[in-house]
């Protein structure tokens, strides 16, 4: 679209120019709009910078902190009502005795979710985004100041219920986990393809309700794999506990991997210090 007047010069939005800044000749619009040229007359400054660069910087800081302290961090995303908080409550109860677990919850309003998580036995802090539709890495960094960091354990970041906006915002997590429930449509992976493409794991939740809803599991999984062939998929019911064992094992494995990576880094650091000791001696 031509932004000078809003006309549809390139209706498809594809401006296939190699950018010598000859924006083509003047063009004529319908009656009442003067022809105009898009040739620039001011100074041109090359930027070549990602729009999300600032968020990426904060995400890198969070990720570095998680790596230093052996934290396996997950970003849970879904529509509102998929059962994230119930799932997290049950997960926290199951793993809380094994290693440290903490939760950052994002909602536009209320601290209800954080209260539910604390009742389940884990430290939790709520970020109220107000009108905001997603968490960003800066907000998560501040939330970490108010939370005991689960060193050697798992940090769950429960994003705002929204299958669109959170897809773009890296929080420093190891994986995005998308939760879909069988009370939703099986075509959600196609409708919200960016989110399912951004996730590494999909949890199909509320499978205890399958006898009562028209949800085609095979079709849903097929759609999800079309969008993201590498997507891992687990089916479970947080309410009845069915399928929870595989999810918990997946989490334990991630926690162990994060710890192993921390050990490798610490050993390298220790070796470097010992080498300096010998040199000094």
């Amino acid at each position: 679209m031509c932004v000078t007047c809003g006309c549809g010069v390139d209706e498809a939005g594809i401006h296939d120019h190699s950018h010598s800044h000859e924006h083509g000749p003047s063009h004529v619009h319908g009656p009442g709009i003067a022809p105009h040229s898009h040739a620039p007359s001011g100074r041109l400054i090359a930027i070549e910078q990602d729009i999300l660069a600032k968020n990426a910087g904060f995400a890198a800081e969070n990720r570095q902190l998680f790596a230093l302290r052996g934290v396996f961090a997950l970003n849970l995303v879904s529509s509102p009502g998929s059962g994230k908080t119930t799932l997290l409550g049950k997960t926290v109860q199951a793993l809380g005795d094994e290693f440290p677990v903490a939760v950052i919850g994002g909602d536009q309003q209320t601290a209800h979710d954080a209260e539910r998580i604390r009742a389940a036995g884990a430290p939790a802090v709520q970020i109220n985004t107000g009108k905001g539709c997603h968490l960003d890495a800066h907000g998560v960094g501040h939330a970490l100041d108010q939370l005991p960091l689960p060193e050697g354990g798992i940090l769950f970041i429960e994003n705002v219920g929204n299958l669109v906006c959170p897809a773009d915002f890296d929080l420093g997590e190891a994986h995005k986990v998308v939760v879909l429930s069988v009370t939703e449509g099986e075509d959600k992976p196609l409708k919200y393809a960016n989110m399912f493409a951004a996730a590494d794991l999909m949890l199909l939740n509320k499978i205890d309700l399958l006898p009562y809803v028209d949800f085609d599991v095979a079709q849903c999984l097929d759609y999800a794999r079309r969008v993201n062939p590498a997507l891992q998929i687990l089916q479970l019911s947080a309410r009845t506990g069915e399928g929870m064992t595989i999810w918990l094992d997946w989490l334990r494995q991630g926690q162990q991997t994060a710890l192993a990576q921390q050990a490798v880094r610490l050993e390298a650091e220790l070796a470097a210090v010992r080498a300096r000791l010998r040199t000094a001696g």
Binding site: M1, V3, T4, A12, G13, I14, H15, H17, H19, H38, P40, S41, G42, R43, L44, I45, A46, I47, E48, Q49, D50, I51, L52, A53, K54, N55, G132, C133, H134, D136, V164, C165, A167, D168, F169, P189, L190, A193, N194, M195, F196, A197, A198, Y223, R225, R226, V227, N228, P229
Partner: protein
């Protein structure tokens, strides 16, 4: 409506550049947006008009260059054009492909005074 956050990122960069490069007014902002990027262009334009107020870009126009999606098909090995995450490979029909480009969200250039 994360397009507002994206526009705040654009204006942030513009403001930093204005300070570093010594300009006071931006005439035009060129963005490069991949065809598969998670952004609604009309919402982005709407948000830009609001977020640009009282900044060096207060009168700036937004020029969006759409970059095509390219993927490597794992089944037929071809480099192919895709425009949606759920497109089949146009050569062999497989969904087993890896995206090479097409999710860019980039500020390319500014025209300033």
């Amino acid at each position: 409506m994360h397009e507002f956050s994206l526009c705040e990122g654009i204006i942030d960069t513009v403001t930093t550049q204005a300070r570093q490069q010594g300009f006071s007014r931006v005439r035009r902002v060129w963005l490069e947006i991949g065809e598969l990027a998670n952004v609604e262009l009309d919402a982005l334009r709407f948000a830009f008009e609001i977020v640009r107020q009282d900044t060096a870009a207060a009168a700036a126009e937004l020029d969006i260059i759409t970059l095509p999606g390219r993927a490597h098909c794992l089944d037929c090995g071809q480099s192919v054009a895709v425009s949606q995450h759920f497109d089949p490979c146009p050569v062999c029909g497989s969904y087993q492909w890896r995206l090479l480009s097409g999710t860019e969200l980039r500020i390319k250039e500014l025209e300033v005074d």
